[in-house]
């Protein structure tokens, strides 16, 4: 275990180097992150880490760090700037060189295949019909993705709980064409990949009997859209419970999270409307905007100044060709960005939206249930009234262990969306047992089931996430995202490290998710870990040890350990809202 006191010679040198001027930048970043959470009390780091054994003796505390008034807080660094430190030009060119190499090897393989006539690269259709997927379109899949296909789509044979049985697969034949085949054996792994934030994924003592009961009462499917016969009493109850939980007037539920965005946005916007969308927004939002026919402008990730600039400019200049005024402007943001683990700067965006008369669409796919003292999402976390958000959207797949998504807000809005959404007429209504799962898990979260399991889950999730993030940062990984967010991306940058990391983790019984292009930018490949309330401290400690070891072997500790250790001690623990953690003893 890397400790703050014992370092080898090289590490010391490295540490010193990293304590140069950049350290100040890091401090600044972390502090501004901390202020955003508006902590009430500074709690020592050791209480956050909650494990005296780990703390490595008494640490210098920065308890007396002067808390600056919010007005003086330097603007938080934008997404791009955050990487400036690690991603120096040298490293960046090496990463690109790696891609070029991979591409060229692919091209050579294409050439050899064609030369020896092993198989045509693409499958041209019969009679001169162009291939259904063109060769160039398919190149990435064929020559890059297929070679590491074993690290994606890994089948599991159990519930996606804290531990999963991952099916072992064997690769045979041409790795560019053949998918791996299951061997029949499974491997029990710690699940750091599923979005099981509150641990409702597996069979739950309270929820599952209720779900089974609903199944017997209402069947697995309504076989009808919501507007025809698909609306059962269970659905009505669920929509009321969801609206009540969120603190809004009404809610309308879809059977799939992706469809919620993709088919709601077209009902709200059309030609002549403007959508201002964060650059890291999910594909479903992109599809929804595409379907709507509205114009779209993309603002830099979480950059409120850029958003304001675009808002002002758009309102002043009007529509681009006709110069007419925009019919309406919709700002679309996410609560937690799923690939970055970062929270939206909601209060500032709400202020902007009010100032300029725009509407706000908040996608809480990852944050609902996972953030806030009572799990009410990013609004609660940042102290924003849900009534200030025009359209609340979220999914039930993640924290609640069900499926589907909701649109919530004022009664007028929800009534309209229900009436106008194609999903009301052309899609099967949500499966009634899934609706019951939502009601049951919300009952547990709000503590109406007669136990304090809900609060415990929320506290444990926060504690786990903060522990894990702090521990990884302390060990020198470049970890993205905000504290309290259960999504912990660890940057590995080099595309070639993706398969190595994933396979090594699987060998050590860790199921993690690795993402690269096209889900991220070319040079920002990362390992993404989703923390769950169902993980125990020992499991996470063990996982950290393993990732630490693999991180050393794959050389992905881009922040010097000494500096990182100090940062973790001084900054991560200091300014956090850790009241929940300290009040609960789990």
């Amino acid at each position: 275990m890397a400790s703050t006191t014992t370092t080898t010679g090289t590490e010391t040198v490295q540490g010193r180097r990293h304590q140069g001027p950049e350290a100040g930048v890091w401090l600044e970043r972390k502090r501004s992150l901390g202020d955003q959470a508006e902590a009430k009390a500074a709690v020592p780091a050791s209480s956050l880490l909650h494990n005296p054994g780990d703390a490595g003796g008494p640490r210098p505390r920065l308890a007396a760090a002067p808390r600056q008034p919010p007005a003086k807080v330097p603007a938080r660094r934008t997404h791009q700037e955050e990487f400036a430190e690690v991603l120096n030009p040298m490293r960046q060119s090496l990463i690109y060189l790696g891609w070029v190499l991979l591409m060229q090897i692919g091209r050579v393989r294409d050439f050899l295949d064609r030369f020896f006539g092993l198989h045509a690269a693409g499958s041209a259709g019969k009679g001169g019909v162009p291939p259904i997927v063109s060769d160039s379109q398919d190149f990435y899949t064929r020559r890059l993705y297929m070679r590491i296909v074993d690290i994606f789509n890994r089948p599991i044979t159990s519930a996606p709980g804290a531990w999963i049985d991952v099916a072992e697969r064997r690769r045979e034949g041409d790795p560019c064409r053949e998918h791996p085949t299951p061997t029949g054996r499974t491997r029990r792994c710690l699940n750091l990949g599923s979005y099981n934030y509150l641990g409702f994924a597996a069979n739950d003592a309270y929820c599952t009997p209720k779900v089974v009961e609903e199944l017997r009462r209402s069947g697995a499917s309504t076989c009808s859209p919501g507007a025809d016969a698909g609306r059962t009493e269970g659905h009505v109850e669920m929509e009321q419970v969801v609206a009540g939980f969120l603190g809004v007037e009404k809610a309308f539920v879809y059977g799939m999270g992706f469809a919620t965005n993709a088919f709601t946005i077209p009902t709200l916007c059309s030609k002549g409307c403007l959508v201002l969308s964060d650059e890291m927004n999910h594909k479903s939002i992109v599809d929804g905007v595409k379907l709507s026919g509205a114009s779209v402008k993309v603002f830099r990730h979480n950059d409120v100044r850029h958003l304001e600039y675009l808002l002002r400019k758009s309102i002043v200049e009007g529509q681009s060709r006709t110069g007419r005024q925009w019919r309406k402007i919709l700002i679309v943001v996410e609560g937690i960005y799923s690939m970055e683990g970062e929270m939206v700067r909601l209060s500032e965006i709400v202020r902007l939206k009010k100032k300029y008369g725009a509407y706000l669409y908040l996608d809480e796919a990852h944050s609902i249930g996972a953030l806030g003292a009572t799990g009410r999402g990013v609004c609660e976390q940042q102290g924003v009234s849900p009534r200030d958000v025009d359209v609340m959207m979220g999914t039930f797949t993640k924290s609640f262990g069900s499926c589907g998504g909701y649109i919530a807000g004022s009664a007028a809005l929800v009534d309209y969306v229900r009436a106008a959404s194609p999903a009301s007429y052309h899609a099967t209504a949500m499966s009634p047992p899934a609706a019951r799962q939502i009601v049951a898990s919300l009952t547990v979260i709000s503590g109406r089931d007669g136990s304090d399991r809900g609060g415990e889950k929320l506290a444990r999730l926060r504690q786990n996430a903060n522990y894990f993030r702090a521990e990884l940062m302390r060990r020198g990984f470049h970890v993205l995202g905000d504290m309290d967010s259960p999504v912990v991306p660890i940057m590995c940058y080099y595309a070639a490290k993706i398969p190595a990391l994933s396979r090594m983790c699987l060998e050590r019984n860790l199921a993690v998710v690795l993402v690269g292009f096209p889900a991220t930018a070319l040079c920002l490949s990362r390992m993404r870990i989703c923390i769950s309330a169902s993980h125990t401290r020992e499991e996470l400690e063990n996982a950290v040890e393993i990732i630490d070891e693999i991180g050393d072997r794959c050389m992905i500790k881009y922040i010097g350990e000494r500096k990182a250790a100090r940062l973790a001690t001084d900054e991560v623990g200091g300014n956090r809202d850790t009241r929940l953690v300290s009040s609960k003893s789990i």
Partner: protein, 518 residues
């Protein structure tokens, strides 16, 4: 100068009879060295005059005020603030109960639609099983002709037990997309089983029916590609085509003549050089049209698509499990080979009594979607218990599908014939010709284009509900590009008694004649 000219003229006049002399004199003036020759002019510093003139012109050009469009000053902060303060956005959601203020904001098309959808939005709330042959709404027990639970598998005990087992084993949700540990063994089982059932190489499972075409079509059709589609296709396919950014051309619903004309036009255009050689061409049709209840002439369509080098995208949602002797859908019904349909889409929410969508095709087609199908890659996978339900349904269809489908066909025929007979004298209401367990009662004639058409259909439905028969109007949103004629959609369940169906005919006849439609 003038005098010399005069002298010259006088000199000419004197020698008027001596033309040759005159010409000689003229020539002597003009020839090199003559006084009218340009060289003489320049020798005598005449060029200075020309240069002076040029200088004058240049001076004029330099000194005259050049044309400059007046540069607009950028807006001042205050002007910007004024503009921002002046801007009044439209309401985010037009109030469903449109008030005077909202009315002017709604576009005319939307306005009517929104009002129409007020009625739609008041959906009945079902107690208990919504898919069962009889449903409980409020205090009333109604004959359910709405749910598309054709083979009554959603109500089947065996499927239910399978679901309970799956819930126990896997929990409710899958908590992740397929790529990231959301692939559970039952998903794979359903995919292989479904592919085998359809005779296709592979199948790919989506977690929602409406997102299946909206993901599968844009995965293959790109901008620059061409789609020829039936104008009767439902919204899921329409949204897929809209997302693909391809050129979409529609032919009249189920009109082969129109399709042939369209294909010939396209052929001619491509001969003229419009459209590239690399352009992929697709034909989009439904096996049984959800909005009409009729069957696409697939044999002819397949012939045409092979002749013109198109690929066929077929939505078989309402045919799979109910058409063909063993329920293999349009493929079996039209006696087609599986490879003749390139991309086959189907919802699991009808005869399979589950939720979700499936896309079947060649390995290449399915493989490509595993990285490019938006709804597959970016969405959580289907809850495992619903996949188990579909697998069990497939088991049942494979075991006893033949008998069930024969029975369903007989019952549908009975209802269809009964309704046709009952409405034979009606000039405004008629049973749309078709096959399969979906029957559309269409409003025809002038009433169909009337603004109140939907309202009157809804009136029929409400009246039938009072008499114990649950029906529904075929509903569309303002996003639908084409919608079917106003109609009532009737879905037959294999578990319906014959007496039930006869009662439905009687009730429909009664309410229709009460409304003056028979």
């Amino acid at each position: 100068m003038a005098s010399s000219v005069k002298e010259n003229l006088a000199w000419c006049w004197e020698r008027r009879n001596r033309v040759d002399e005159i010409f000689y004199e003229l020539w002597s003036n003009v020839r090199p060295g003559g006084r009218l020759h340009p060289a003489w002019f320049f020798e005598a510093k005449g060029h200075l005059a020309v240069e002076l003139l040029l200088f004058a012109v240049i001076f004029y050009l330099l000194t005259r005020k050049s044309f400059k469009p007046r540069k607009e000053k950028p807006l001042t902060r205050q002007e910007q603030e004024e503009l921002i303060a002046e801007w009044t956005p439209e309401p985010l959601a037009p109030s469903v109960y449109a008030t005077a203020n909202d009315k002017q904001n709604l576009r005319s098309r939307t306005k009517g639609q929104v009002r129409k959808q007020i009625r739609y939005a008041r959906a009945p709330v079902v107690k208990g099983k919504a898919s069962a042959p009889h449903v409980q709404i409020g205090s009333k027990r109604l004959l359910n002709l709405v749910s598309t639970n054709f083979l009554n598998l959603a109500d089947s005990e065996r499927v239910e037990e399978e679901c309970v087992a799956a819930l126990d084993k896997y929990g409710c949700g899958s908590c992740g997309p397929r790529g990231f540990y959301g692939t559970i063994d039952v998903h794979l089982e359903l995919e292989t089983r479904m592919a085998k059932f359809l005779g296709m190489e592979e199948a790919i499972l989506y977690s929602y029916d409406i997102s299946t075409p909206a993901s599968a079509i844009p995965a293959f059709c790109k901008s620059g590609d061409l789609i020829v589609a039936d104008a009767g296709v439902g919204y899921p396919l329409q949204s897929g085509m809209a997302l693909s950014r391809s050129t979409v051309r529609y032919f009249k619903h189920n009109d082969l003549g129109d399709l042939r004309n369209l294909l010939d036009t396209i052929e001619e255009e491509s001969k003229l050089g419009k459209g590239k050689d690399t352009q992929r061409r697709f034909m989009v049709v439904e096996g049984v049209y959800a909005n009409y209840g009729d069957v696409a002439p697939l044999r002819e369509i397949v012939k045409l698509k092979e002749k013109h080098g198109f690929r066929l995208i077929l939505d078989d949602s309402f045919a799979l499990g109910v058409l063909g002797e063993t329920g293999r859908g349009s493929l079996e019904h039209h006696d087609l080979r599986p490879e003749q349909v390139d991309i086959m889409l189907a919802s699991l929410g009808h005869s399979f009594g589950s939720v979700g969508g499936i896309c079947a095709g060649s390995r290449r087609v399915c493989d490509h979607q595993r990285l490019s199908g938006a709804g597959y890659v970016f969405s959580a996978s289907l809850p495992p218990y619903l996949a188990s339900a579909a697998v069990k349904s497939l088991d049942i269809i494979e075991e006893e599908g033949k008998e069930m489908i024969a029975e369903l066909e007989a019952k549908t025929d009975r209802l269809r014939r009964g309704l046709t007979r009952a409405l034979s004298r009606s000039r405004t209401l008629r049973v749309h010709e078709g096959m399969g367990p979906v029957i559309h009662l269409q409003l025809v004639g002038e009433k169909a284009t009337d603004v109140s058409a939907v309202e009157s259909m809804q009136g029929l439905v409400d009246a039938a509900a009072r008499d114990g028969v649950f029906l529904t109007v075929a509903k569309y949103t303002f996003l639908d590009r084409y919608e079917g004629p106003p109609s009532i959609r009737i879905a037959v369940n294999v578990a319906h008694d014959e007496a039930d169906l006869d009662r439905a005919v009687t009730v429909i006849k009664k309410v229709a004649s009460k409304a003056g439609l028979v």
